[in-house]
Amino acid sequence: MSRRGISLTINGKAYQREVEPRLSLLDFLRDEMRFSGTHVGCEHGVCGACSILFDSVPIRACLMLAVQADGHDVTTVEGLCDEDGAPGLLQTAFQDAHGMQCGYCTPGMLISAQALLAQNNDPSLEDIKDAIGGNICRCTGYVQIIESIQLAARRLREAEQ
């Protein structure tokens, strides 16, 4: 299959690559670009483990092709870290409230939460549930994930004051 050239931004950095037209964006990010924080869960758009920000909107990387990302801006979980690679505010809140267990759904949860908090730093419980309603977690029962997002929102508001 003939490869196609794409240009895109990942976590603030510009890249140019040649890819096969049928390569999924998920496999491109993981296998070609080595952003392995984005996880493979169901590959049919239900579980949300592969969530990324696509032009700031949370989407499933398993349902897109890499060629469709040409000219777009992608953020993966690695892009939520501070510049030195340390956990950012949202990630730290997930640590402090233990909003995870096995860590497999965590990057997708963080992406969905990031998208929410970017729009709304004082979300209601329902806002949070709507934001992560498409991310399945089998470990936590969601309670500590919700608490993590609430903690992050509080810290965000305090930081903005």
């Binding site: 096969e20 049928r22 390569l23 993981r30 080595r34 952003f35 392995s36 924080g37 984005t38 996880h39 493979v40 869960g41 169901c42 590959e43 049919h44 239900v46 579980c47 483990a49 993966t76 979980v77 690695e78 870290c81 690679g85 956990p87 990630q91 730290t92 997930f94 640590q95 402090d96 409230a97 233990h98 995870m100 267990q101 096995c102 860590g103 497999y104 759904c105 965590t106 990057p107 963080l110 419980l125 549930k129 992560i132 309603g133 498409g134 991310n135 399945i136 977690c137 089998r138 470990c139 936590t140 029962g141 969601y142 309670v143 500590q144 994930i145 919700i146």
Partner: protein
């Protein structure tokens, strides 16, 4: 163990960050899919479309000719080179190979595997494989499978019955004869599982130079390497399992033995690393990761006051085509066969049958969740029969707090507990009287509302003697766990455990206990996962055991480290051992604290100054400890009574539900839970386990099911069919702890990984039945999907 209950704890039971979390939030977790080896080739598998069929021929020519394909393997070839995978029970004619041989036995069973340059090409090649099948009628219904003599899943075995056992503990006939009343009911636990978000994956690399097979796998399984070795016919020490792989959820099911055999075999054949990552459809249909599928027929004898005297239980479990360790999930419940109740005698008939479905593996609680659902259903049935309050009936039957250790008819001694207190805490948290008013008000407004009440016991830290109960040639009386602790020349501490971890926070657990015992900040203690060639004996993180068992091993090893430091100090300071005390690594004279040896000095002596070591002491500074299951080590007595698990945690669940009568949809609007797992090592971890297990139990109660049609075709291959709870289906759970320390463990801890899942299905069923009660309806089959409830309400059929 030398636990001092009055001791002041610094790190144990204190809210502290979970050390594993940092790598997960930054995307730096190392899951098997993240392990990259040069030259790795990728495998994909071809599933059978038929539940039962004879394989007449397989033509792989076109697939092999495709560019980028390295090999196509079928079961026929593999069976020449490999042994069948060893089963838990000795069933020589039940032959389980990683690929179907001659016959397929369930829809989704793997019949061929392709290795190619990448997974895309491998999947292209699958479409070029031509299989000629002769479809045959399948065995689907477990009762029919039990009675069947013509249609056999494994014809050579002679029947579909994999196990059929009878147990009798106490005078059941006498208790039934003497009881005022009795009732009979059927309860059915549907086929569901834990379904981790990460599928199973494995990467293998055979190195001809060292003759070592390196394998990375998302594994959570005792004896995994032994099984792999016996299937491949390798000596055990040719295999090195890398256990520093993060496992993306398991809760029992990440067994992956056939997957691992395949990549190991192919890697050695092709002399390159080979990896197989199941895709979701393959995982659901053919990953051999389904859970118990069980029918209970139970007779209960009781007094007119609602005191339950005796149970007669028949449990028929559908193990699927290849049983693995599935039948043992009927044996674990023997350890808590009467739940938390003072039931006098039990008759237990356990049957495991094979059907043409994907195989059953251990699932969270190892068979205890279905059994607990049945026990709680029995209590509710007795209350309903007598017109008594469900709560009052429970109170009359719960084991009183002054009765511990309490021996149940099947021989378990429950170590400790205060069941009445924990139940009361749950009721207080639920604001029970108010909740009853809320329910009754909803009912007067025409809504279907119900309160659930359920308790559960969580056996933890088992010794595996249940194998002997089913197979008296299996004289296995230990299920040990070990660790090694090293102090380096800088005085820094490293703990080495010998298993993978799949979300339970074992590194945090281990570091916390080492920190507590050695009086060092746990954050400065390194924890590593030794590979299987380097590790000390371990039996993997199953059976709610790691807090008990790794905790015990860590305490033991820390004790040896301290003893060594004390001996060095006694020798160098010429002070008697009993006059020395250990504090934060420094050893000093109780009577004159200025006479001391610091941690740095002890480390220097250990590594550099042999002349200052007590005569005969080895240089270096490390300790190993292999911890035997407390209270275990005995074979059953003549009545099959035995202690299987040492520790018993307890929970009480109070959910509140409302049902939409039009659609049958159940909404869980409130949920209070009280839990007692003794001393909590890390509060955030335990709370997460409890609530997560509970959510998983809500899934099993209301949504999750692997469905087969009457012909054995599999209908639940996607997440859109199987149905797992999202955040919208899980209520805002409120939880409260209680602590009855175990007298048997290092710090009073018990297991906590399973209880939520053991109690929630029973509690939700209790709530739904309470809601249906005004209509004169009840349901006794899980999952209680909305379609089923809607049909029940609107057809009035039971």
């Amino acid at each position: 163990m030398n636990r001092d209950p009055g001791r002041n704890l610094h790190y144990v039971a204190t809210k502290r960050r979970v050390r594993e979390d940092k790598r997960f939030v930054t995307g730096q977790g190392k899951f098997v899919q993240d392990v990259v080896l040069p030259e790795t080739k990728h495998a994909a598998v071809l599933p059978s479309p038929y539940p039962r069929a004879r394989i007449l021929s397989i033509d792989t020519t076109a697939a092999e000719a495709l560019d980028g394909v390295h090999m196509v393997l079928t079961g026929e070839q593999l069976a020449v080179d490999c042994n069948p995978i060893r089963l838990g029970l000795k069933l020589p004619e039940v032959k389980w190979y990683p690929l179907a041989v001659e016959m397929t036995r369930y829809a989704g069973e793997w019949v061929a595997i392709v290795v190619a340059e990448d997974a895309y090409i491998a999947e292209d090649a699958l479409e070029l494989i031509e299989v000629d099948y002769e479809p045959l009628a399948a065995v689907v219904d477990p009762e029919q499978a039990f009675a069947e003599t013509n249609f056999l899943v494994h014809p050579g075995h002679g029947s579909n019955v994999l196990y059929h056992g009878h147990f009798l503990w106490g005078d059941v006939d006498g208790d039934f004869a003497a009881a005022d009343d009795s009732l009979t009911f059927r309860a059915r636990w549907g086929r569901s599982s834990t379904v981790p978000i990460e599928t199973f994956g494995a990467l293998a690399h055979w190195d001809e130079g060292t003759e070592i097979l390196d394998i990375w796998a998302s594994i959570q399984m005792p004896n995994f390497v032994e099984l792999l070795a016996s299937t491949l016919g390798y000596p055990l020490n040719n295999i090195r399992l890398h256990q520093d792989v993060d496992v993306g959820g398991s809760y029992g099911v990440k067994r992956g033995i056939k997957q691992s055999v395949l990549v190991a075999y192919l890697s050695r054949k092709l002399r390159v690393p080979v990896r197989l990552i199941e895709d979701r459809l393959v995982n659901m249909a053919g990953g051999d990761a389904h859970g118990p599928d069980r029918i209970f027929d139970t007779d209960v004898a009781f007094t007119n006051d609602g005191i339950i005297k005796s149970l007669q239980i028949r449990a028929l479990d559908d193990a699927g085509a290849y049983p693995g360790r599935a039948p043992f999930q009927l044996a674990k419940p023997i350890s808590a066969i009467v739940g938390p109740y003072t039931i006098n005698s039990v008759k237990y008939e356990a049957i495991s049958v094979a059907t043409n479905k994907t195989g059953q593996v251990p699932v969270r609680g190892f068979g205890q969740a279905p059994t607990n659902y049945m026990i709680e259903a029995a209590v509710d049935a007795v209350a309903r029969h007598l017109g008594l309050d469900r709560l009052e009936v429970r109170r009359r039957n719960l084991i009183p707090s002054d009765a511990f250790p309490y021996q149940i008819p099947s021989g378990s001694n429950y170590d400790s507990g205060d069941y009445h207190m924990v139940l009361q805490k749950a009721l207080d948290l639920a604001d029970y009287d108010e909740l009853v008013q809320r329910r009754d008000k909803a009912r007067t407004e025409g809504r279907l509302a119900g309160i659930g009440i359920a308790t559960c016991l969580e056996p933890g830290g088992g010794n595996n003697i249940f194998e002997y109960l089913m197979d008296p040639t299996a004289e296995i009386t230990t299920f040990m766990e070990a660790c090694e602790v090293k102090v380096d020349p800088q005085g820094k501490i490293t703990g080495m455990m010998g298993t993978t971890t799949s979300g339970q926070g074992h590194e945090t657990l281990f570091a916390t206990i080492l920190g507590e015992e050695l009086e060092f900040d746990p954050d400065e203690i390194r924890i590593v996962h030794a590979d299987s060639l380097s590790a000390l004996p371990t039996r993997s993180p199953v059976a709610s055991r790691m807090a008990i068992m790794l905790g015990g091993a860590a305490t033991g090893a820390a004790g040896k480290i301290k003893d060594r430091a004390l001996a060095i100090a006694a020798f160098n300071l010429a002070i008697a051992l009993e006059d020395l005390e250990y504090s934060g690594g420094t050893i000093s004279d109780r009577n004159d604290p200025s006479r001391k040896l610091t941690w740095a000095e002890i480390c220097f002596i250990s590594y550099r100054a042999y002349h200052k070591l007590p005569p005969g002491m080895e240089p270096g500074f490390h300790a190993q400890f292999v911890f035997q299951v407390p209270g275990g080590g005995q074979l059953p007595d003549a009545q099959n009574r035995v202690q299987i698990y040492p520790c018993f945690s307890f929970q009480a669940h109070i959910p509140y539900v409302e049902i939409d009568p039009g659609t049958g949809r159940v909404s869980v609007l409130d949920y209070a839970i009280a839990h007692d797992c003794g001393t909590v090592i890390n509060p955030d971890i335990v709370r997460g386990m409890v609530i997560g297990g509970l959510a998983h139990g809500i899934g099993a109660a209301l949504y999750e099911k692997f469905t087969y049609d009457n012909e054995g075709q599999f209908l639940s291959a996607t997440f859109a069919d199987y149905l797992m709870p999202s955040v919208h289906e899980i209520p805002d759970v409120r939880d409260v702890e209680h602590c009855t320390p175990s007298p048997l463990t290092s710090h009073g801890q018990k297991g906590s990984g399973e209880g939520g899942y053991l109690g929630a299905p029973a509690a939700i069923a209790s709530a739904v039945n309470d809601a249906l009660h005004p209509l004169g309806l009840s349901i006794s089959e899980l999952p209680m999907r909305m379609s089923k409830i809607e049909a029940l309400i609107n057809n009035g059929s039971k």
